[in-house]
Symmetry: C2
Amino acid sequence: MKSMTGICPPLNPPTRILMGPGPSEIHPSVLAAMAAPTVGHLDPYFLKVMDEVQSMLRHVFQTSNMMTMAISGTGSAGMETCVVNLIEPGDRMIVCAAGVFGGRMADVAGRAGAEVTTLERPFGEVFTAQEIAEAVDRVKPKVVGIVHAETSTGAWQRLEEISKIVHDAGALLLVDCVTSLAGLPVDVDRLQIDAAYSGSQKCIGCPPGLAPVTVGPRALEAMDRRRTKVSSWYLDIGLLRNYWGNNRAYHHTAPINMNYALHQALRLVVEEGLEARYARHLLQHRALRAGLEAMGIQYSVKAEHALPMLNSVLIPAGVDDVLLRGQLLNEFGIEIGGGLGPMKGRTWRIGLMGETAKKSNVLLFLAALEQCLNRQGVRPTAGAGVAAANEIYLQG
Amino acid sequence: MKSMTGICPPLNPPTRILMGPGPSEIHPSVLAAMAAPTVGHLDPYFLKVMDEVQSMLRHVFQTSNMMTMAISGTGSAGMETCVVNLIEPGDRMIVCAAGVFGGRMADVAGRAGAEVTTLERPFGEVFTAQEIAEAVDRVKPKVVGIVHAETSTGAWQRLEEISKIVHDAGALLLVDCVTSLAGLPVDVDRLQIDAAYSGSQKCIGCPPGLAPVTVGPRALEAMDRRRTKVSSWYLDIGLLRNYWGNNRAYHHTAPINMNYALHQALRLVVEEGLEARYARHLLQHRALRAGLEAMGIQYSVKAEHALPMLNSVLIPAGVDDVLLRGQLLNEFGIEIGGGLGPMKGRTWRIGLMGETAKKSNVLLFLAALEQCLNRQGVRPTAGAGVAAANEIYLQG
């Protein structure tokens, strides 16, 4: 027998202020819920937890879709769940890609056997209803996939007109709301979104590990008409319906304690109220934005498309990206994200998601950023960032 | 906006003694680790946690495989990971199915496009080297998949001879060790297992949500020779190699706190020592078995194939399965499992996995079972179960 040389020291993670693109900060009551005693996955108590998680997720998605649940994987597993259940080999799908996550959806769809038409836009832009109408008319797709809040760019895609276009053409609308859910209205029923997925670790404020998914009646009908098995057994909604549906038949062993955490995180969302939560995200964004702009830092997306919870800004000239983010992390415990894909080294991504979206984080971040910039010889007007943010808070 | 009618009460799960087929009991230090502060998934601290999890998993698997990691899903996601990466459409695969999980592997392989040959055995039996040799000779498969510890039947499949046969034929050996890992020797390198998967919630003693997977050099070479993309993006080992390998490049957002829990659970495994842990599982099994047999309850598998950690026994004649398990749960807080598939209503599955495998659980279970049987008019010799178990403990 090979033996282990030494035993690893026990865990002792540092306390961070999570202002990156997710995970966001976790409320202590959510961490406490996650450490509650594990019960079996078919225990009557856990079935009640599942019921309540589903009911609260329906509220957050603003839907009455029965098939609303937490997939046992992270946000990307939610994406894969929706795509592989909607797509059979040879089906035509349009994917709108103006960032990493749109690109990922096209990759997932291709692997599922879709004939993918990828509409591309430069990173940071959004799609017009007009160009989607033209593409739908040309391609006649079964599914149109689009990202509501592109985590790689901070761009906010409006969906009202697009939804109408997609449905008028008889297609299904699949929406990535990983970053938007519980921070911006997603309104699945009002917008007639046929399938949507999210992640637990963004504006919901639960650790990563679960993917909220909702599937509407038109999408379920399309799944019922499949001629082939879904390529994934693990993510097969036909099988998951028997577990998350009324039967509660064993499929896989659900991550019990992760669902406890999601339950408590959703309780906090319901307690705060969706409108109040959206308003809080917006206020913190306005304060951060005012502070950053007062320090001469520009957003990488147009103001009318800027997401409140994911602030993508251009790194000022002459600043060493990695050095500055390291200083924020090591001296202040603040994590922000770097740019992804073509934005690597060009942008920072500052998250204001869920618990992270609070005054103390915005002010501390602006103050710390000023010090870090000063260290690299960049000198915005002293105190201007904090002052501008405080001005927003005073106005309310 | 639709509003939520009322808010769900906070979580307050009952304390259970988890003697079912998993999840098993969780050590308080593992629950505490899971509630440690969440850090980012690319935080230097989390990268260190990943390194240590990998190192400890290599020890538990007894392998030097670099590609040893925790997949961000449950045990079934581990199964799917191995199958979809090893199989391309049209590849021939033999799956040995003598229970639900062998059958599941055949389903997963078929969805991945494999030309599947399923060798079947009645529930509770195991495969002989001879019959596998004949099948390998006839089918000439790329992969042979087999279950080491069949959770649905409690049967223990020996692998030594089978591994030699599979490799002599130039095929790859894929092993399901969901229930065996950390409770029985798996010994990946010695047995030349090419790919294996497990679950966090069985003998490792971590809540469900992660799937330890190890992939050896021959399997990686086969993956490198693929002509097609892996059907799953989320489970694509080619992509995961960049995250769990040296690059630590972003793939998906790992379930941070689940990995904390796994880290601490693995620390406890290393601290106890594998040989001591295997011996503990065996001793508890012997005591339980002696107690059950003294009460007239028979195992559903032959003694030489009976797993120590999953005890599948025949429900005595005249006993109402659901009523008895309900009484165990409601009056004693003890969860045991019912039979799966054709064994539903015919067997109970009593788990002795990880933290669950201890004297106090065995004795309490036997005492409680006697009372529950008495309530249904079944009267084994009074106290015989506990007495027989105590006899084993006194012998040591």
